[in-house]
Assembly symmetry: C2
Homo-oligomer: 292 residues x 2
Protein backbone atom coordinates (compact mmCIF):
# COMPACT_ATOMS: atom_id res chain seq x y z
CA UNK A 1 0.00 0.00 0.00
CA UNK A 2 1.21 3.49 -0.84
CA UNK A 3 1.24 6.06 1.93
CA UNK A 4 2.86 8.86 -0.10
CA UNK A 5 -0.16 11.08 0.58
CA UNK A 6 0.73 10.95 4.28
CA UNK A 7 4.19 12.39 3.75
CA UNK A 8 4.77 15.92 5.00
CA UNK A 9 8.56 16.27 4.73
CA UNK A 10 8.37 18.78 1.89
CA UNK A 11 5.89 20.90 3.80
CA UNK A 12 8.03 20.77 6.93
CA UNK A 13 11.11 21.71 4.87
CA UNK A 14 9.21 24.66 3.41
CA UNK A 15 8.00 25.84 6.83
CA UNK A 16 11.46 25.67 8.39
CA UNK A 17 13.05 27.35 5.38
CA UNK A 18 10.56 30.23 5.65
CA UNK A 19 11.43 30.72 9.33
CA UNK A 20 15.17 30.24 8.86
CA UNK A 21 15.59 32.70 6.01
CA UNK A 22 18.48 35.18 5.68
CA UNK A 23 16.95 37.56 8.25
CA UNK A 24 17.01 34.92 10.98
CA UNK A 25 19.96 34.89 13.41
CA UNK A 26 22.23 32.15 11.98
CA UNK A 27 22.41 29.92 15.05
CA UNK A 28 18.65 29.97 15.53
CA UNK A 29 18.20 29.22 11.82
CA UNK A 30 20.53 26.24 12.04
CA UNK A 31 18.95 25.00 15.25
CA UNK A 32 15.43 25.17 13.79
CA UNK A 33 16.47 22.89 10.95
CA UNK A 34 18.51 20.66 13.25
CA UNK A 35 15.54 20.14 15.58
CA UNK A 36 13.18 19.05 12.82
CA UNK A 37 15.47 17.10 10.42
CA UNK A 38 16.14 14.28 10.11
CA UNK A 39 12.87 13.49 11.81
CA UNK A 40 11.63 10.56 13.80
CA UNK A 41 8.85 8.31 12.54
CA UNK A 42 6.48 11.29 12.01
CA UNK A 43 3.76 9.14 13.56
CA UNK A 44 1.53 12.02 14.68
CA UNK A 45 1.30 13.91 11.37
CA UNK A 46 0.69 10.66 9.48
CA UNK A 47 -2.11 9.80 11.89
CA UNK A 48 -3.67 13.25 11.45
CA UNK A 49 -3.62 13.05 7.66
CA UNK A 50 -4.74 9.42 7.67
CA UNK A 51 -7.80 10.22 9.77
CA UNK A 52 -8.71 13.07 7.41
CA UNK A 53 -8.13 10.83 4.37
CA UNK A 54 -10.30 8.08 5.80
CA UNK A 55 -13.31 10.39 5.79
CA UNK A 56 -15.25 11.81 2.91
CA UNK A 57 -15.50 15.59 2.76
CA UNK A 58 -11.80 15.86 3.52
CA UNK A 59 -9.75 19.01 3.12
CA UNK A 60 -6.24 17.65 2.45
CA UNK A 61 -4.58 21.06 2.57
CA UNK A 62 -6.08 21.91 5.95
CA UNK A 63 -5.28 18.43 7.29
CA UNK A 64 -1.70 18.63 6.08
CA UNK A 65 -1.13 22.02 7.69
CA UNK A 66 -2.56 20.65 10.96
CA UNK A 67 -0.29 17.60 10.61
CA UNK A 68 2.79 19.78 10.08
CA UNK A 69 1.79 21.98 13.01
CA UNK A 70 1.49 18.94 15.28
CA UNK A 71 4.91 17.62 14.20
CA UNK A 72 6.53 21.03 14.79
CA UNK A 73 4.94 21.16 18.25
CA UNK A 74 6.26 17.67 18.92
CA UNK A 75 9.78 18.68 17.83
CA UNK A 76 9.53 21.77 20.06
CA UNK A 77 8.56 19.62 23.03
CA UNK A 78 11.58 17.35 22.48
CA UNK A 79 13.93 20.35 22.46
CA UNK A 80 12.51 21.69 25.71
CA UNK A 81 12.23 18.24 27.36
CA UNK A 82 15.95 17.69 26.76
CA UNK A 83 16.93 20.95 28.53
CA UNK A 84 19.25 20.72 31.55
CA UNK A 85 16.41 21.60 33.92
CA UNK A 86 14.31 18.65 32.67
CA UNK A 87 15.89 15.43 31.34
CA UNK A 88 19.31 17.03 30.77
CA UNK A 89 19.61 14.72 27.74
CA UNK A 90 22.72 15.20 25.67
CA UNK A 91 21.60 12.96 22.81
CA UNK A 92 18.39 12.91 20.74
CA UNK A 93 17.63 11.01 17.53
CA UNK A 94 21.22 9.75 17.56
CA UNK A 95 22.91 13.16 17.59
CA UNK A 96 23.65 15.83 20.22
CA UNK A 97 20.47 17.37 21.61
CA UNK A 98 19.78 20.96 20.58
CA UNK A 99 21.05 22.45 23.83
CA UNK A 100 24.19 20.31 23.61
CA UNK A 101 24.87 21.45 20.07
CA UNK A 102 23.74 25.11 20.29
CA UNK A 103 23.62 26.02 23.97
CA UNK A 104 20.71 26.40 26.34
CA UNK A 105 19.58 29.85 25.19
CA UNK A 106 19.22 28.83 21.56
CA UNK A 107 17.45 25.65 22.69
CA UNK A 108 14.81 27.60 24.64
CA UNK A 109 14.28 29.95 21.68
CA UNK A 110 14.21 27.11 19.16
CA UNK A 111 11.40 25.48 21.10
CA UNK A 112 9.53 28.78 21.34
CA UNK A 113 9.98 29.56 17.65
CA UNK A 114 8.88 26.05 16.62
CA UNK A 115 5.71 26.36 18.70
CA UNK A 116 4.81 29.59 16.94
CA UNK A 117 5.92 28.22 13.56
CA UNK A 118 3.28 25.52 14.03
CA UNK A 119 0.62 28.23 14.07
CA UNK A 120 2.20 30.10 11.16
CA UNK A 121 1.87 26.91 9.10
CA UNK A 122 -1.69 26.47 10.27
CA UNK A 123 -2.55 30.09 9.43
CA UNK A 124 -1.30 29.54 5.88
CA UNK A 125 -3.22 26.28 5.59
CA UNK A 126 -6.38 27.95 6.84
CA UNK A 127 -6.01 30.80 4.36
CA UNK A 128 -6.04 28.35 1.44
CA UNK A 129 -8.34 25.71 2.91
CA UNK A 130 -11.12 24.27 0.80
CA UNK A 131 -13.46 24.61 3.80
CA UNK A 132 -12.11 27.61 5.75
CA UNK A 133 -14.91 27.49 8.31
CA UNK A 134 -13.32 24.34 9.75
CA UNK A 135 -10.09 26.19 10.52
CA UNK A 136 -10.79 27.49 14.05
CA UNK A 137 -11.90 24.05 15.28
CA UNK A 138 -8.80 22.39 13.80
CA UNK A 139 -6.65 25.07 15.40
CA UNK A 140 -8.37 24.61 18.75
CA UNK A 141 -7.66 20.86 18.79
CA UNK A 142 -4.02 21.41 17.82
CA UNK A 143 -3.54 24.04 20.54
CA UNK A 144 -5.35 21.99 23.21
CA UNK A 145 -2.83 19.20 22.56
CA UNK A 146 -0.02 21.34 23.92
CA UNK A 147 -1.42 23.94 26.30
CA UNK A 148 -2.89 23.84 29.79
CA UNK A 149 -4.90 22.24 31.27
CA UNK A 150 -4.38 18.89 29.49
CA UNK A 151 -1.80 19.33 26.73
CA UNK A 152 1.76 18.02 26.68
CA UNK A 153 3.15 21.10 28.50
CA UNK A 154 0.74 20.39 31.35
CA UNK A 155 1.74 16.71 31.21
CA UNK A 156 5.37 17.69 31.68
CA UNK A 157 4.38 19.99 34.55
CA UNK A 158 2.95 17.02 36.47
CA UNK A 159 6.59 15.94 36.90
CA UNK A 160 7.06 18.98 39.15
CA UNK A 161 4.26 17.93 41.51
CA UNK A 162 4.52 15.89 44.70
CA UNK A 163 1.10 14.32 44.19
CA UNK A 164 0.47 13.16 40.65
CA UNK A 165 -2.78 12.13 39.01
CA UNK A 166 -1.22 9.27 37.01
CA UNK A 167 -3.98 8.90 34.44
CA UNK A 168 -4.04 12.63 33.79
CA UNK A 169 -0.23 12.73 33.72
CA UNK A 170 0.06 10.07 31.01
CA UNK A 171 -2.87 11.28 28.97
CA UNK A 172 -1.53 14.84 29.02
CA UNK A 173 2.15 14.07 28.54
CA UNK A 174 1.85 11.73 25.58
CA UNK A 175 -1.80 11.15 24.72
CA UNK A 176 -2.70 14.80 24.21
CA UNK A 177 -0.80 15.27 20.97
CA UNK A 178 -2.13 11.99 19.52
CA UNK A 179 -5.63 13.08 20.46
CA UNK A 180 -4.88 16.40 18.75
CA UNK A 181 -3.81 14.44 15.66
CA UNK A 182 -6.96 12.34 15.37
CA UNK A 183 -9.38 15.12 16.35
CA UNK A 184 -7.76 17.77 14.12
CA UNK A 185 -7.77 15.25 11.24
CA UNK A 186 -11.47 14.60 11.81
CA UNK A 187 -12.25 18.31 12.14
CA UNK A 188 -10.36 18.97 8.88
CA UNK A 189 -12.62 16.39 7.25
CA UNK A 190 -15.72 18.08 8.58
CA UNK A 191 -16.82 15.18 10.77
CA UNK A 192 -17.46 15.28 14.51
CA UNK A 193 -14.07 14.82 16.21
CA UNK A 194 -15.54 13.43 19.47
CA UNK A 195 -15.63 9.74 18.44
CA UNK A 196 -12.06 10.07 17.09
CA UNK A 197 -10.69 10.94 20.51
CA UNK A 198 -10.36 7.34 21.69
CA UNK A 199 -8.15 6.34 18.77
CA UNK A 200 -5.68 9.11 19.65
CA UNK A 201 -5.85 8.32 23.37
CA UNK A 202 -5.21 4.59 22.78
CA UNK A 203 -2.27 5.16 20.43
CA UNK A 204 -0.91 7.75 22.81
CA UNK A 205 -1.08 5.32 25.71
CA UNK A 206 0.55 2.59 23.61
CA UNK A 207 3.29 4.98 22.63
CA UNK A 208 3.92 5.97 26.25
CA UNK A 209 4.13 2.31 27.28
CA UNK A 210 6.48 1.61 24.34
CA UNK A 211 8.63 4.53 25.45
CA UNK A 212 8.73 3.20 29.00
CA UNK A 213 9.79 -0.23 27.69
CA UNK A 214 12.51 1.29 25.54
CA UNK A 215 13.73 3.42 28.44
CA UNK A 216 14.01 0.33 30.62
CA UNK A 217 15.32 -2.27 28.16
CA UNK A 218 17.21 -0.54 25.39
CA UNK A 219 20.41 1.44 25.10
CA UNK A 220 21.41 4.80 23.68
CA UNK A 221 22.85 3.34 20.46
CA UNK A 222 19.63 1.52 19.61
CA UNK A 223 17.12 4.30 20.24
CA UNK A 224 19.31 7.36 19.79
CA UNK A 225 18.57 8.95 23.17
CA UNK A 226 19.59 8.26 26.76
CA UNK A 227 17.84 5.40 28.57
CA UNK A 228 17.18 4.57 32.20
CA UNK A 229 15.73 8.04 32.73
CA UNK A 230 12.52 6.92 34.42
CA UNK A 231 14.35 5.18 37.23
CA UNK A 232 17.07 7.85 37.48
CA UNK A 233 14.41 10.56 37.85
CA UNK A 234 12.06 8.33 39.86
CA UNK A 235 9.27 8.74 37.34
CA UNK A 236 6.22 6.51 37.12
CA UNK A 237 6.54 3.99 34.28
CA UNK A 238 4.54 1.06 32.92
CA UNK A 239 7.60 -1.19 33.27
CA UNK A 240 8.07 -0.25 36.91
CA UNK A 241 4.39 -0.96 37.48
CA UNK A 242 3.89 -4.11 35.38
CA UNK A 243 7.35 -5.48 34.53
CA UNK A 244 8.59 -5.73 30.95
CA UNK A 245 6.31 -8.57 29.82
CA UNK A 246 3.33 -6.99 31.49
CA UNK A 247 4.12 -3.71 29.78
CA UNK A 248 4.42 -5.37 26.35
CA UNK A 249 1.03 -7.00 26.92
CA UNK A 250 -0.42 -3.67 27.96
CA UNK A 251 0.99 -2.07 24.79
CA UNK A 252 -0.74 -4.67 22.59
CA UNK A 253 -4.03 -4.14 24.47
CA UNK A 254 -3.81 -0.40 23.89
CA UNK A 255 -3.20 -0.88 20.18
CA UNK A 256 -6.15 -3.27 19.85
CA UNK A 257 -8.34 -0.84 21.77
CA UNK A 258 -7.23 1.88 19.36
CA UNK A 259 -8.09 -0.20 16.30
CA UNK A 260 -11.50 -1.06 17.73
CA UNK A 261 -12.09 2.62 18.50
CA UNK A 262 -11.85 3.72 14.87
CA UNK A 263 -15.32 5.04 13.99
CA UNK A 264 -17.16 3.84 10.91
CA UNK A 265 -15.92 5.70 7.84
CA UNK A 266 -15.12 5.04 4.18
CA UNK A 267 -11.45 4.39 4.78
CA UNK A 268 -11.70 2.44 8.04
CA UNK A 269 -9.89 -0.67 6.73
CA UNK A 270 -6.95 1.27 5.31
CA UNK A 271 -6.68 3.33 8.47
CA UNK A 272 -6.61 0.17 10.60
CA UNK A 273 -3.87 -1.19 8.34
CA UNK A 274 -1.80 1.97 8.80
CA UNK A 275 -2.24 1.97 12.57
CA UNK A 276 -1.18 -1.71 12.67
CA UNK A 277 1.87 -0.90 10.58
CA UNK A 278 2.83 1.98 12.85
CA UNK A 279 2.25 -0.10 15.96
CA UNK A 280 4.90 -2.60 14.80
CA UNK A 281 7.42 0.18 15.16
CA UNK A 282 6.34 0.72 18.74
CA UNK A 283 7.09 -2.78 19.93
CA UNK A 284 10.76 -2.77 20.92
CA UNK A 285 12.97 -5.29 19.14
CA UNK A 286 15.68 -5.27 21.82
CA UNK A 287 14.54 -6.35 25.21
CA UNK A 288 18.02 -7.54 26.22
CA UNK A 289 18.63 -5.23 29.14
CA UNK A 290 16.92 -6.24 32.33
CA UNK A 291 14.48 -3.73 33.68
CA UNK A 292 14.44 -2.75 37.30
CA UNK B 1 -11.83 60.28 27.00
CA UNK B 2 -13.00 56.80 27.89
CA UNK B 3 -10.85 53.87 26.81
CA UNK B 4 -12.95 51.15 28.45
CA UNK B 5 -13.42 49.47 25.09
CA UNK B 6 -9.65 48.87 25.01
CA UNK B 7 -9.63 46.90 28.23
CA UNK B 8 -8.98 43.16 27.96
CA UNK B 9 -8.45 42.16 31.59
CA UNK B 10 -11.68 40.18 31.77
CA UNK B 11 -10.80 38.31 28.60
CA UNK B 12 -7.30 37.56 29.87
CA UNK B 13 -8.77 36.37 33.19
CA UNK B 14 -11.14 34.08 31.32
CA UNK B 15 -8.36 32.66 29.12
CA UNK B 16 -6.05 31.95 32.05
CA UNK B 17 -8.89 30.46 34.10
CA UNK B 18 -9.73 28.08 31.22
CA UNK B 19 -6.11 26.91 31.05
CA UNK B 20 -5.62 26.75 34.80
CA UNK B 21 -8.72 24.69 35.58
CA UNK B 22 -8.86 21.80 38.06
CA UNK B 23 -7.20 19.38 35.60
CA UNK B 24 -4.06 21.53 35.35
CA UNK B 25 -1.07 20.66 37.56
CA UNK B 26 -1.41 23.09 40.50
CA UNK B 27 1.99 24.77 40.22
CA UNK B 28 1.59 25.38 36.51
CA UNK B 29 -1.92 26.72 37.11
CA UNK B 30 -0.62 29.14 39.73
CA UNK B 31 2.33 30.19 37.58
CA UNK B 32 0.10 30.89 34.57
CA UNK B 33 -1.96 33.33 36.62
CA UNK B 34 1.12 34.77 38.30
CA UNK B 35 2.78 35.49 34.94
CA UNK B 36 -0.20 37.40 33.55
CA UNK B 37 -1.61 39.20 36.65
CA UNK B 38 -1.21 41.88 37.78
CA UNK B 39 -0.16 43.00 34.34
CA UNK B 40 2.01 45.81 33.08
CA UNK B 41 0.59 48.70 31.06
CA UNK B 42 -1.02 46.32 28.49
CA UNK B 43 0.27 48.71 25.81
CA UNK B 44 0.31 46.15 22.97
CA UNK B 45 -3.27 44.85 23.32
CA UNK B 46 -4.62 48.40 23.70
CA UNK B 47 -2.79 49.40 20.54
CA UNK B 48 -4.21 46.42 18.64
CA UNK B 49 -7.78 47.15 19.69
CA UNK B 50 -7.35 50.91 19.16
CA UNK B 51 -6.18 50.38 15.57
CA UNK B 52 -9.17 48.14 14.89
CA UNK B 53 -11.52 50.65 16.54
CA UNK B 54 -10.11 53.54 14.49
CA UNK B 55 -11.25 51.86 11.28
CA UNK B 56 -14.71 51.26 9.96
CA UNK B 57 -15.63 47.66 9.21
CA UNK B 58 -14.11 46.59 12.51
CA UNK B 59 -14.61 43.20 14.11
CA UNK B 60 -14.20 43.96 17.83
CA UNK B 61 -14.38 40.32 18.89
CA UNK B 62 -11.63 39.27 16.47
CA UNK B 63 -9.51 42.30 17.41
CA UNK B 64 -9.91 41.61 21.10
CA UNK B 65 -8.87 37.97 20.73
CA UNK B 66 -5.81 39.08 18.75
CA UNK B 67 -5.05 41.67 21.45
CA UNK B 68 -5.28 39.06 24.21
CA UNK B 69 -3.12 36.68 22.18
CA UNK B 70 -0.45 39.35 21.78
CA UNK B 71 -0.46 40.14 25.50
CA UNK B 72 -0.17 36.43 26.40
CA UNK B 73 2.75 36.10 23.98
CA UNK B 74 4.34 39.16 25.59
CA UNK B 75 3.91 37.67 29.08
CA UNK B 76 5.41 34.38 27.83
CA UNK B 77 8.43 36.22 26.46
CA UNK B 78 9.02 37.93 29.82
CA UNK B 79 8.96 34.59 31.63
CA UNK B 80 11.50 33.06 29.24
CA UNK B 81 13.67 36.23 29.06
CA UNK B 82 14.03 36.16 32.85
CA UNK B 83 15.33 32.54 32.87
CA UNK B 84 18.77 31.90 34.34
CA UNK B 85 20.25 31.22 30.89
CA UNK B 86 19.13 34.67 29.65
CA UNK B 87 18.81 37.69 31.97
CA UNK B 88 18.73 35.59 35.15
CA UNK B 89 16.34 38.20 36.54
CA UNK B 90 14.97 37.47 39.96
CA UNK B 91 12.41 40.29 39.96
CA UNK B 92 9.73 41.24 37.41
CA UNK B 93 6.85 43.69 37.78
CA UNK B 94 7.94 44.23 41.39
CA UNK B 95 7.69 40.60 42.50
CA UNK B 96 9.86 37.49 42.14
CA UNK B 97 10.18 36.38 38.52
CA UNK B 98 8.36 33.16 37.60
CA UNK B 99 11.48 30.98 37.78
CA UNK B 100 12.38 32.54 41.15
CA UNK B 101 8.92 31.81 42.51
CA UNK B 102 8.19 28.43 40.87
CA UNK B 103 11.53 27.04 39.66
CA UNK B 104 13.06 26.87 36.23
CA UNK B 105 11.05 23.90 34.93
CA UNK B 106 7.69 25.48 35.68
CA UNK B 107 8.98 28.75 34.16
CA UNK B 108 9.87 27.05 30.87
CA UNK B 109 6.48 25.29 30.77
CA UNK B 110 4.58 28.44 31.75
CA UNK B 111 6.11 30.27 28.80
CA UNK B 112 5.30 27.37 26.47
CA UNK B 113 1.72 27.08 27.73
CA UNK B 114 1.15 30.84 27.45
CA UNK B 115 2.38 30.84 23.85
CA UNK B 116 -0.13 28.13 22.97
CA UNK B 117 -2.84 29.76 25.08
CA UNK B 118 -2.49 32.79 22.84
CA UNK B 119 -3.56 30.68 19.89
CA UNK B 120 -6.33 28.98 21.86
CA UNK B 121 -7.76 32.43 22.54
CA UNK B 122 -7.37 33.37 18.90
CA UNK B 123 -9.05 30.15 17.77
CA UNK B 124 -12.06 30.96 19.94
CA UNK B 125 -12.15 34.53 18.66
CA UNK B 126 -11.99 33.32 15.08
CA UNK B 127 -14.80 30.85 15.64
CA UNK B 128 -17.14 33.66 16.73
CA UNK B 129 -15.77 36.46 14.53
CA UNK B 130 -18.15 38.68 12.62
CA UNK B 131 -15.87 38.36 9.56
CA UNK B 132 -14.27 34.91 9.93
CA UNK B 133 -12.42 35.17 6.60
CA UNK B 134 -10.09 37.71 8.23
CA UNK B 135 -8.97 35.19 10.85
CA UNK B 136 -6.00 33.54 9.09
CA UNK B 137 -4.42 36.91 8.22
CA UNK B 138 -4.83 38.16 11.80
CA UNK B 139 -3.32 34.91 13.06
CA UNK B 140 -0.41 35.21 10.62
CA UNK B 141 0.49 38.70 11.86
CA UNK B 142 0.27 37.61 15.49
CA UNK B 143 2.50 34.57 14.86
CA UNK B 144 5.03 36.50 12.77
CA UNK B 145 5.50 38.84 15.74
CA UNK B 146 7.02 36.03 17.78
CA UNK B 147 8.50 33.41 15.46
CA UNK B 148 11.52 33.29 13.17
CA UNK B 149 12.80 35.01 11.12
CA UNK B 150 11.82 38.42 12.57
CA UNK B 151 9.68 37.90 15.66
CA UNK B 152 10.68 38.50 19.27
CA UNK B 153 12.16 34.99 19.68
CA UNK B 154 14.48 35.71 16.75
CA UNK B 155 15.27 39.12 18.28
CA UNK B 156 16.34 37.43 21.49
CA UNK B 157 18.44 34.95 19.48
CA UNK B 158 20.52 37.83 18.07
CA UNK B 159 21.94 38.13 21.58
CA UNK B 160 23.63 34.77 21.03
CA UNK B 161 25.47 35.94 17.90
CA UNK B 162 28.96 37.42 17.65
CA UNK B 163 28.00 39.68 14.75
CA UNK B 164 24.67 41.43 15.20
CA UNK B 165 22.57 43.28 12.66
CA UNK B 166 21.55 46.03 15.07
CA UNK B 167 18.53 47.31 13.15
CA UNK B 168 17.19 43.78 12.71
CA UNK B 169 17.96 42.99 16.36
CA UNK B 170 15.94 45.91 17.72
CA UNK B 171 13.12 45.60 15.25
CA UNK B 172 12.78 41.88 15.99
CA UNK B 173 13.30 42.01 19.74
CA UNK B 174 10.83 44.78 20.56
CA UNK B 175 9.31 46.14 17.37
CA UNK B 176 7.93 42.85 16.10
CA UNK B 177 5.16 42.51 18.68
CA UNK B 178 4.09 46.17 18.26
CA UNK B 179 4.00 45.62 14.50
CA UNK B 180 1.92 42.51 15.16
CA UNK B 181 -0.43 44.65 17.26
CA UNK B 182 -1.03 47.34 14.64
CA UNK B 183 -1.16 44.95 11.66
CA UNK B 184 -3.41 42.41 13.40
CA UNK B 185 -5.70 45.27 14.48
CA UNK B 186 -5.86 46.52 10.90
CA UNK B 187 -6.44 43.01 9.53
CA UNK B 188 -9.25 42.50 12.06
CA UNK B 189 -10.83 45.68 10.70
CA UNK B 190 -10.58 44.40 7.15
CA UNK B 191 -8.18 47.12 5.96
CA UNK B 192 -4.77 46.61 4.38
CA UNK B 193 -2.28 46.14 7.26
CA UNK B 194 0.77 47.29 5.23
CA UNK B 195 0.45 51.06 5.96
CA UNK B 196 -0.10 50.26 9.65
CA UNK B 197 3.30 48.64 9.98
CA UNK B 198 5.19 51.92 10.53
CA UNK B 199 3.08 52.89 13.52
CA UNK B 200 3.97 49.62 15.23
CA UNK B 201 7.63 49.88 14.24
CA UNK B 202 7.91 53.46 15.57
CA UNK B 203 6.22 52.71 18.88
CA UNK B 204 8.33 49.57 19.18
CA UNK B 205 11.51 51.55 18.67
CA UNK B 206 10.37 54.22 21.14
CA UNK B 207 9.61 51.52 23.65
CA UNK B 208 13.02 49.91 23.19
CA UNK B 209 14.75 53.28 23.67
CA UNK B 210 12.62 53.96 26.75
CA UNK B 211 13.61 50.55 28.10
CA UNK B 212 17.28 51.32 27.50
CA UNK B 213 16.90 54.65 29.34
CA UNK B 214 15.17 52.97 32.26
CA UNK B 215 17.83 50.26 32.39
CA UNK B 216 20.55 52.91 32.56
CA UNK B 217 18.98 55.54 34.81
CA UNK B 218 16.43 53.91 37.06
CA UNK B 219 16.50 51.42 39.91
CA UNK B 220 14.74 48.16 40.72
CA UNK B 221 12.27 49.80 43.16
CA UNK B 222 11.06 52.26 40.55
CA UNK B 223 10.58 49.95 37.58
CA UNK B 224 10.07 46.63 39.34
CA UNK B 225 12.85 44.73 37.56
CA UNK B 226 16.65 44.69 37.71
CA UNK B 227 18.51 47.55 36.00
CA UNK B 228 21.97 47.96 34.58
CA UNK B 229 21.52 44.77 32.55
CA UNK B 230 22.64 46.22 29.20
CA UNK B 231 26.06 47.17 30.50
CA UNK B 232 26.40 44.04 32.64
CA UNK B 233 25.64 41.84 29.63
CA UNK B 234 27.46 44.15 27.18
CA UNK B 235 24.34 44.63 25.10
CA UNK B 236 23.86 47.41 22.55
CA UNK B 237 21.68 50.22 23.96
CA UNK B 238 20.48 53.63 22.82
CA UNK B 239 21.91 55.19 25.98
CA UNK B 240 25.33 53.69 25.36
CA UNK B 241 25.17 54.97 21.80
CA UNK B 242 23.61 58.43 22.33
CA UNK B 243 23.85 59.25 26.02
CA UNK B 244 20.75 59.78 28.17
CA UNK B 245 19.66 63.12 26.71
CA UNK B 246 20.30 61.90 23.17
CA UNK B 247 18.24 58.79 23.91
CA UNK B 248 15.34 60.85 25.31
CA UNK B 249 15.42 62.98 22.17
CA UNK B 250 15.47 59.86 20.03
CA UNK B 251 12.48 58.51 21.94
CA UNK B 252 10.47 61.67 21.21
CA UNK B 253 11.41 61.49 17.54
CA UNK B 254 10.23 57.89 17.33
CA UNK B 255 6.90 58.79 18.93
CA UNK B 256 6.36 61.73 16.55
CA UNK B 257 7.25 59.48 13.61
CA UNK B 258 4.71 56.99 14.88
CA UNK B 259 1.97 59.62 15.15
CA UNK B 260 2.71 60.87 11.64
CA UNK B 261 2.64 57.31 10.35
CA UNK B 262 -0.99 56.73 11.33
CA UNK B 263 -2.86 56.22 8.06
CA UNK B 264 -5.99 58.20 7.27
CA UNK B 265 -8.99 56.60 8.95
CA UNK B 266 -12.18 57.63 10.73
CA UNK B 267 -10.66 57.48 14.18
CA UNK B 268 -7.23 58.95 13.41
CA UNK B 269 -7.49 61.82 15.92
CA UNK B 270 -8.57 59.58 18.81
CA UNK B 271 -5.87 57.06 17.96
CA UNK B 272 -3.23 59.81 17.96
CA UNK B 273 -4.50 60.94 21.33
CA UNK B 274 -4.20 57.43 22.75
CA UNK B 275 -0.69 56.95 21.38
CA UNK B 276 0.34 60.31 22.89
CA UNK B 277 -1.13 59.26 26.23
CA UNK B 278 0.71 55.94 26.13
CA UNK B 279 3.95 57.63 25.12
CA UNK B 280 3.92 59.73 28.27
CA UNK B 281 4.28 56.49 30.18
CA UNK B 282 7.40 55.66 28.18
CA UNK B 283 9.36 58.76 29.11
CA UNK B 284 11.13 57.94 32.34
CA UNK B 285 10.43 60.22 35.28
CA UNK B 286 13.57 59.32 37.19
CA UNK B 287 16.80 60.10 35.39
CA UNK B 288 18.75 60.44 38.64
CA UNK B 289 21.27 57.64 38.13
CA UNK B 290 24.11 58.48 35.77
CA UNK B 291 24.32 56.29 32.74
CA UNK B 292 27.58 54.85 31.54
Amino acid sequence: MNYAHLDCETDLERAVAAGADERCPPQLANALHYAVFPGGARVRPQLCMAVAAANTGKDPSLAKSAACAIELLHCASLVHDDLPCFDDATVRRGKPSVHSAFGERIAVLTGDALIVMAFQVLAKGMATARYPDRGPAVMGYVADGVAAPCGIAAGQAWECEQRVDLALYHQSKTGALFIAATCAGAAAAGVDPTPWRNLGASIGEAYQVADDIKDATSDIETIGKPTGIDIALDRPSAVRELGVDGAVQRLRQCMEAGLDAIPQCDGRAQLQQLVRLQSQRFIPKNKGRTAA
